[in-house]
Amino acid sequence: MESNSSIHAPSSFPKKRGNKLLRKLVNQRYLQAMALLGVAWMVIFNYIPIYGIIIAFKEFNIIKPISEAPWVGMDHFKAFLEDDNLKYVIRNTLGMSFLKLLIGFPLPILFALFLNEIRSIRFKRSIQTISYLPHFLSWVILGGIMTTWLADVGIINDVLLWLHIINEPIVFLAEPSYFWGLAIISDIWKELGWSAIIYLAAIAGISPELYEAATIDGAGRFQKMFYLTLPSIKGTISILFILAVSGVLNSNFDQIMVLKNQLNESTSNVIDVYVYQVGLQQARYSYSTAVGLIKSIIALILLLTANFVSKRLNNTSLF
């Protein structure tokens, strides 16, 4: 026994192991081919664009390949600091995101809380189903709906005229002062029901015994909602809040693209759309890539900060 292993083990072990790996690889050849096709797709469509970010440090010209473009160091980032357009673009991005956070974030929670208090299950399901229908409509369609509603002969102007709030029709989308409000309301209209799903799922996971105990203790409906249901879904709320905070630089690109026009430009343009305009419409590829890169870096910092704060404050975090 002893001599046997001492003779064979040292010389043949590595070779055998190599054979085994090779044999396993041959056995897995179909699986490997299937996996590698996916890896190849990711290398092309995810990793090559990541490499392409280097044009932010170069003076890229569409005629020549990226590798031949001359390096310019941080020039585009310096230009970023001197770009006057960015002032209002950043103000709009942050302003709309902040309002969405302030109004758009708590509303689905409230909606879920109140929907949960509906006693008839069928009624509850129907409401839920109807409420997330708009999520599946595109912003293009919603933009069409909004221009119809907001037209001078549209229903909004009719109602306002009828109530004598205004004396002549307002051309809403041509007035910069209305844009933020319209963006926030339309966003809520589209996503209220859909965002509530995740809270409803969290509420469904609360043990019914807690409610029975609370009832026996004499808690009323409101007390149960705000002292039992709400604290029970605190974890879900924190996680979604982290995501919402880290997304303040992400505006709703499609929404802005659809609702924006030259007349409301001063309150409607946001970073993502600006990157698109400068990059693809004005063909300043390198500069707009630099703007996009700065945005991504700040977003990453925001995500990490929000995650850290949430971990400290209530022990829930994304990672």
Partner: protein, 294 residues
């Protein structure tokens, strides 16, 4: 049970107000769509006067007829249908195939493949580098620009993988003894038992393909390859500015263009609304899987 739940006056008032609140949410959700629908079913020039809230004033299918007679709109519709069908099928099959391979815990290099994928969830090249890539690949002005760059999603791969790992090994082993290779097992054994997750991902991808206007806007110049959402985007962006220009007294308003726009919007929305009641259970299911993972 019954005696315990005797409602007080306050409870009843709460329930009543709550039901009213929920009915209001429903109304606020559905009425904007209804408003567009009744206006699209009204004669174009008459609708221009406004005031159509609940029912068409001069009922007419004229706008819809105009849409179906418009070859540009019909071509765009065809492109949308084709890209939705092909794009959804290729996305689901390709992503599921890769997911099936990666669901094997003993796959050599599997951890590295997963790491490569996970990184893509956190980092991306952004708009311009992706645009340049598409150009370099020669996908400009090609139908395949809708399909190939949207064929795979690592996020959906995770959802598939979670599902595949729950499939009992015995199923695959039996097929293996019969001499089937892994690809055959995937097609003949794994796919048929994975219908719920396939349907869920297919629905989300289908909705994405149906609704996407952006690829058609930046990669396509040929009007015959433009999907309906891009077509509508151009009309809506244009007519909204026309409308404002008209209000400023610069350009004449063309009323029929507005009513045709409404009819096109209704037709474009119809497939989603029609499929919606049947498929909504998959939407919720998908959201659940997504939220557990995400």
């Amino acid at each position: 049970m019954f005696s315990l739940k005797r409602k007080t006056y306050g409870e009843r008032a709460f329930d009543f107000i709550n039901i009213l609140l929920m009915l209001f949410v429903c109304f606020a959700t559905l009425y904007p769509i209804w408003y567009v629908l009744v206006n699209s079913l009204n004669e174009g020039t008459d609708a221009m006067r406004g005031g159509i809230y609940w029912w068409p004033r001069q009922f007419s299918f004229g706008n819809y007829k105009a849409v179906f007679d418009n070859s540009g709109i019909m071509t765009a519709m065809g492109v949308t249908i084709a890209k939705t069908l092909i794009g959804t099928i290729t996305h689901v099959l390709f992503t599921a195939m890769v997911a099936y391979a990666l669901s094997h815990k003993d796959l050599i290099g599997g951890r590295i493949y997963l790491l490569i994928g996970t990184m893509t969830l956190f980092f991306s090249g952004g708009l311009i580098p992706s645009f340049l890539l598409i150009r370099d690949l020669g996908l400009f002005d090609s139908f395949w620009v809708y399909i190939i760059p949207a064929m795979f999603s690592f996020f959906n791969l995770i959802i598939f993988m979670t599902f595949f790992r729950e499939i009992p090994d015995a199923l695959e082993e039996a097929a293996k003894i019969d001499g089937a290779n892994d690809f055959v097992i995937f097609v003949k054994i794994v796919l048929p038992v994975s219908m719920p997750v396939l349907a869920t991902i297919a629905l989300f991808q289908g909705v994405f393909q149906w609704n996407d206007y952006f690829a058609g806007m930046i990669f396509i110049n040929n009007p015959d390859l433009q999907p309906i959402q891009t077509y509508l985007y151009r009309i809506i962006a244009q007519s909204s500015s026309n409308q404002m220009a008209a209000d400023a007294g610069i350009v004449n308003k063309t009323v029929t263009s507005q009513s045709i726009k409404l009819a096109t919007m209704v037709i474009t929305t119809m497939p989603i609304v029609a499929a919606y009641p049947f498929l909504q259970k998959y939407f919720v299911q998908g959201m659940m899987i997504g939220s557990v993972k995400g």
